[in-house]
Symmetry: C2
Subunit: 331 residues, 2 copies
Amino acid sequence: MAEAAGVHPATASRALNPALPGRIGAETTRRVQEAARRLGYTPDPLARGLRTRRSGVVGVVVPDLTNPVIPPIVRGIEEALWAAGRGCLLADTDNDPEREAVHVAQLVARRCEALIVATAARTSPTVAALAAGDVPTVLVTRGVDAVDLPLVAADDAAGVTAAVEHLAGLGHRRIVHLTGPTDLSTTVRRAAAFRAAMARLGLGDDPLVLHGAAFTIRAGARVARELLDRDAGATAILAGNDLIALGCLETLAAAGLRCPADVSIAGHNDMPFVDRLTPPLTTVAIRGHEIGTAAARLVLALLGGDPEAQRHVLLPTELVVRGSTAPPPTG
Amino acid sequence: MAEAAGVHPATASRALNPALPGRIGAETTRRVQEAARRLGYTPDPLARGLRTRRSGVVGVVVPDLTNPVIPPIVRGIEEALWAAGRGCLLADTDNDPEREAVHVAQLVARRCEALIVATAARTSPTVAALAAGDVPTVLVTRGVDAVDLPLVAADDAAGVTAAVEHLAGLGHRRIVHLTGPTDLSTTVRRAAAFRAAMARLGLGDDPLVLHGAAFTIRAGARVARELLDRDAGATAILAGNDLIALGCLETLAAAGLRCPADVSIAGHNDMPFVDRLTPPLTTVAIRGHEIGTAAARLVLALLGGDPEAQRHVLLPTELVVRGSTAPPPTG
DNA sequence: TTGAAAGCGCTAACAA
DNA sequence: TTGTTAGCGCTTTCAA
């Protein structure tokens, strides 16, 4: 204990914690800090937490770390959290609602001061329950329907709109949207933006939207197969994300269709390496790292009781035009 | 408190913790558990940790979560840790030794029961110091020279050997190794295996090995440029990892050289999507998820005081032959 | 400005 | 098998 080396029992606590009730003598402060440094003293966060009811840890729940969209977000969160002296307890649900429930329960049981949840399905009872609990929670990318939890996400709608305008500008008129399951708010947001843009451009009030089982390559390949079977005559596909776009590419190639000569494809997220495919993928870039830092900052603001905190944050997206989109085949 | 509802003060503790000194009556146990459930009681891990000196949390230090090699490893760690009732405190150093030092210090200060470190440079003083401390530490992929810490890694040497044999089998005789900085043990391991295989196959006792500044696309592109400038007449490149291979591909293409017609390239790690490049990359696949679970299990064994624990674990690798390797140009 | 005393919620000894 | 007592290391009243 630092007291032995320094002088007093719990005055040390005050000396080490600036701006607590009761100012401390300059000389005393110096002595305490000197002793602390000399003994390599670190306050025990467990004991402190036991007393202050704050663990200094934020729980972070992600759907799947091996989905390339996630790591930049987690890095952003992690950096901002550590910078604020908070730790980052990571939990991966593998997109399984049951594991989400288990992990959230464990994180709460571990007395996380707050939660950042990137796994929320629109109807997740686990996440909805969080809104009623007393653990501040911030959602990332995916929102829930039932309750109004703070949310940080990319402005997908703007990106999707830009993508549709880009395709229309190239001359495409039969554009379809191949996307993920409807229980994710991202799907709904992007699909709504797609429909709105199509209608506004006079390309149909009820354009074709096909939903795959997941935001994966495999699901993308299957839903593209479904599109081909319908023989809808689409000349351009707007994919719900890049993985679905990759699946589409696969199915198209297998069917002998060339991209972009026969069909244009645009994705969403600008995952790493999609610029190195043949053809390089046109896609809507999101700023994962910024989403992460914004989410962490929002959590910190909530913990700090900041009433100014913006509860809903939309970060800009940008359409990146590459080789997978081109004018439709003539005739 | 559960006692009020049940009956006794600290008997509850025993009832909820099976296999503690002093058996508990069946009826009592039932009553306590019933009460705990009814009141939604969760033991406070902070208070428990304060008493038992165990936080239930393991610190995980990674070099860069956005490097595609890392996420599968972290997932493996995270799953095994949670399954054992431990949390996973994540810290990302962005490959910066200073941040490594800071993060390790913070994780230790937070009373992590153990550390899993995937950032170790061969000479890292931070990691070497850990060996002398009292926090059990397991290294992942990267080892340090000075001390003999437990290490879990892929059997790179076997993979590199297989890759060299593959290239030699295709008829290549002038094979070069383009890899990362020498301060990482992975570099050294792979380079040594490369030299040994080359010598054994009679392809030179001192084959060309060029070291880039990092395991990145950019460094790979630059080191490939260096190779071209030397005009070494290489017909095959064994890259230190897939990112370096991507950089090579880039430089080669810019120089008007075709892969694999003019130069074959093989990578290492089998990162996601390298099978979708043109040409698809021949590479040594490692099992990231298994590396993670093995590391976590080793940590748990160490924490459990298991004397049987294998301190050095090498996991199998597998050469995946794709389109980026072919026989050398004739003549 | 500082000391003294109490207690956060739990578990480990010891006693019954 | 259970109750009692004590204390983990810190912060926080309250008094000096």
